[in-house]
């Protein structure tokens, strides 16, 4: 019984005197949102922690037009989502008081909630009480002081940046100990990569502490989504993070489909699976090469780049886009494959998997690269649990969340997913997990292609009524993407929230580089390869 998911959590909360009610207008019906009282908020998070649930995300939404009170004011709700390996996802929300707009911080229970709570402060002007770190996060120093872009009363189309505020410094963690020096890096990095700032505190050769400062590529995606229809909005969702375009488009489509109670046809779900697994392969292949390149093993980089290019060309031929952008639609996919393309895909997937296996044996046999990756940048099992590390990084550190198994959304209800289980949490283990995932994705693609059902690739898309919301969790190549969508009037979206796995895994990088020599930072960084765009939104 799928409905049992949240009933289980509601009962556990009830045991501790936390009253909760089901929200009817939240889909999917087997995972409706629970509404709790404001003063129970922090205690509920504590209870989730005690039940060993993983924190998925914290976000907020103003009431939509359907929900404006008689006095005309818009209620402000805060949401949080948790996941449990057996009992799966649970959503909670509470309503803030109109006059104080305050909520208790849950960062004491879940440290990875902290940056999300800082974002709530920036975007909604919510006051988070007892937050361990109250610095602004996405809102950089030069923004005017009292702007909160996700509030309905914010209507600025271009922010007047205040140059004199540019001089204000972000309050980085500092050390006054003798011999500790700082290295500022970025936002414009030395390679062809995204912008962000890293502040190292180093002693001699070793990193004492590394602090991330992100938000540079914040493009107002959540706000820009408001007022778009699902068909139009999915193009934007597909560009939350370009390397994960299938994952993000799928998460968005799934959330919309849940909200409107539409199911994509079986053939479409199989094709989505194929697209997503191909994306997983391409990115792991590219990254393994890039990690080796950072350890001066150029041979592997060139070989992997060659394979990645082969995949990109096939994608252009079969799906019309080298990176697979705009292949998924709400209710289905927009490209079907014929028998010839199926054969081509099948063949290429097999060849590439075999080539990767061969390269893997060379990599494993090469002491100079092994020397660099083994034991470098470790995240221990306890830390990985604490922050809820996701995807291949989590699976390299003894925690194995995989939504393809936990949520088992189609097509993964028809195919078996084998999860690599690593324990050491170093660069070598992350590479090992990625190699395993390439092989497993190739197997899954083969199975999906062989059993590809006949039929439509697109279900009729009818947007839900105003006020209905939907939630989805999709396992992209980096890990779980959580998306929440609420529809407003005329089939337009009035709130879109998405949490890229990077929002959590960036914390893993901070932990991993402690006591690592400074020159090893690029190596460790690449082994995570977190998305800046996906985090900054």
């Amino acid at each position: 019984m799928r409905f049992a998911v949240n009933t289980w959590f509601a009962e556990r909360l009830g045991d501790h005197g936390i009253h909760s009610e089901f929200l009817a207008d939240h889909h999917p019906v087997h995972m409706p949102c629970l509404e709790i009282r404001l003063h129970d908020w922090e205690q509920a998070a504590g209870e989730a922690r005690r039940l060993e649930m993983r924190m998925v995300a914290v976000w907020a939404a103003e009431a939509g037009k359907h929900d404006i009170s008689v006095s005309g004011s818009r209620a402000l709700y805060v949401y949080m989502a948790f996941a449990h390996p057996e009992h799966r996802h649970a959503l909670l929300r509470t309503r803030l008081r109109d006059d104080t707009r305050e909520v208790q911080s849950i960062s004491g229970h879940y440290i990875s909630a902290c940056r999300m709570e800082r974002t709530l402060q920036d975007m909604f002007g919510i006051h988070v009480r007892n937050i361990p770190d109250s610095r602004a996060w996405i809102k950089h120093e030069h923004w005017p002081e009292n702007v909160h872009p996700l509030r309905a009363d914010f209507s600025v189309t271009r922010m007047s940046v205040e140059p004199e505020r540019n001089a204000i410094d972000y309050d980085y963690v500092q050390s006054s100990s003798q011999g500790v020096y700082e290295i500022p890096v970025g936002p414009v990095h030395a390679g062809i990569i995204e912008p962000g700032h890293f502040r190292f505190l180093a002693v001699g050769e070793y990193i004492l502490n590394m602090e991330e400062r992100l938000g540079y590529v914040h493009k107002g995606i959540e706000k820009a989504m408001q007022g778009r229809t699902a068909e139009h909005g999915i193009r934007l969702a597909a560009r939350v993070s370009g390397d994960t375009t299938v994952g993000h488009a799928w998460a968005f489509a799934h959330a919309c489909e849940y909200a409107s109670n539409t199911a994509a046809p079986k053939r479409a779900s199989y094709l989505r699976g194929i697209l997503c697994e191909r994306e997983r392969m391409a990115n792991h292949i590219g990254d393994i090469g890039a990690i080796c390149n950072d350890a001066a093993f150029t041979f592997m980089h060139m070989q992997m780049q060659r394979l990645r290019e082969d995949m990109a060309r096939m994608h252009a031929d079969v799906f019309g886009h080298r990176l697979l952008m705009d292949t998924i639609t709400p209710g289905g996919v927009c490209r079907d494959v014929d028998a010839v393309s199926c054969m081509m895909l099948m063949q290429q997937t097999r060849t590439i998997a075999a080539e990767v296996e061969h390269l893997r044996s060379i990599y494993a046999d090469h002491p100079s690269i092994q020397e660099r990756v083994i034991g470098a940048g470790t995240v221990c099992i306890a830390d990985a649990r604490d922050i809820g590390l996701l995807g291949f990084a989590g699976r390299a550190s003894g925690d194995y969340p995989d939504e393809r198994i936990e949520e088992a959304y189609p097509p993964y209800d028809d195919v078996e997913v084998r999860v690599a289980e690593g324990k050491l949490g170093d660069v070598a283990t992350r590479i090992w997990v990625r190699f395993e995932e390439i092989a497993d994705s190739a197997r899954i693609i083969g199975q999906l292609l062989e059993t590809l059902p006949e039929g439509d690739i697109q279900a009729a898309w009818i947007p839900p009524e105003s006020g209905v919301s939907g939630f989805a969790a999709i396992e992209s190549w980096r890990g779980e993407i959580a998306a929440w969508v609420r529809f407003g009037e005329g089939g337009c979206i009035d709130r879109y929230f998405v949490r890229d796995p990077s929002a959590i895994n960036w914390l893993g990088l901070e932990l991993a580089v402690r006591t690592v020599p400074v020159p090893d930072f690029p190596l460790v960084n690449k082994s995570f390869n977190c998305s800046y765009a996906g985090h900054d939104l």
Binding site: V188, H218, A224, F299, Q305, D365
Partner: protein, 168 residues
């Protein structure tokens, strides 16, 4: 080591020859000549992500892969704007990157070329210019010489755009 050599030998050179069947023929030869003529055989590009979704970056990387191997035409990507001849800017310029982009532009020695790459860099793309967090298209922030359209532009488009910029 032997296995590495064996693999290298087995795969051989995949770099696409300048044959009549691909556009690289005309492009490659022209690019090499222009680089030789205007830049003494070496053009240094500094890639700047001013707010992209990172899709454009993937394609810039691809120009360096063994198929396209843009380095054979004398074009290489540099780590610092201080010794760059050209800035290759991607993404709509986000408010939070505006200052950094201007500083990078100022740090590049004149004469300098700016190529705005991708639909976002050209006209803010799907993110829209009426967006509080977007400062504008690249041309709204710094002078632009050439625009490469596409979302993202393919590696061939990129090579073409670079060529167009240096041919002036």
């Amino acid at each position: 080591m032997l296995r590495i050599l064996h693999q290298i030998f087995k795969i051989g050179t995949v770099t696409e020859p300048l044959s009549e069947s691909n556009q690289l023929e005309i492009l490659g030869t022209q690019l090499e000549q222009a680089v030789r003529k205007h830049f003494k055989g070496s053009l240094a590009i500094r890639a700047v992500d001013a707010g992209s979704c990172n899709g454009c970056e993937l394609e810039v990387h691809a120009t360096n892969n063994p198929y396209y191997d843009i380095e054979r035409f004398g074009v290489h990507f540099t780590a610092s704007p201080r010794f760059a001849d050209m800035l290759l800017v991607t993404g709509p310029v986000s408010c939070n990157m505006e200052t950094a982009l201007k500083m990078t532009y100022d740090a590049t020695p004149a004469p300098k070329l700016v190529v705005a790459m991708g639909d976002c860099a050209a006209h803010c793309g799907v993110f829209g210019c009426d967006n509080y967090a977007v400062a504008g298209a690249v041309a709204d922030i710094i002078p632009v010489d050439v625009i490469i359209h596409g979302c993202p532009p393919t590696p061939t488009d990129i090579i073409q755009g670079v060529l167009k910029a240096i041919q002036g």
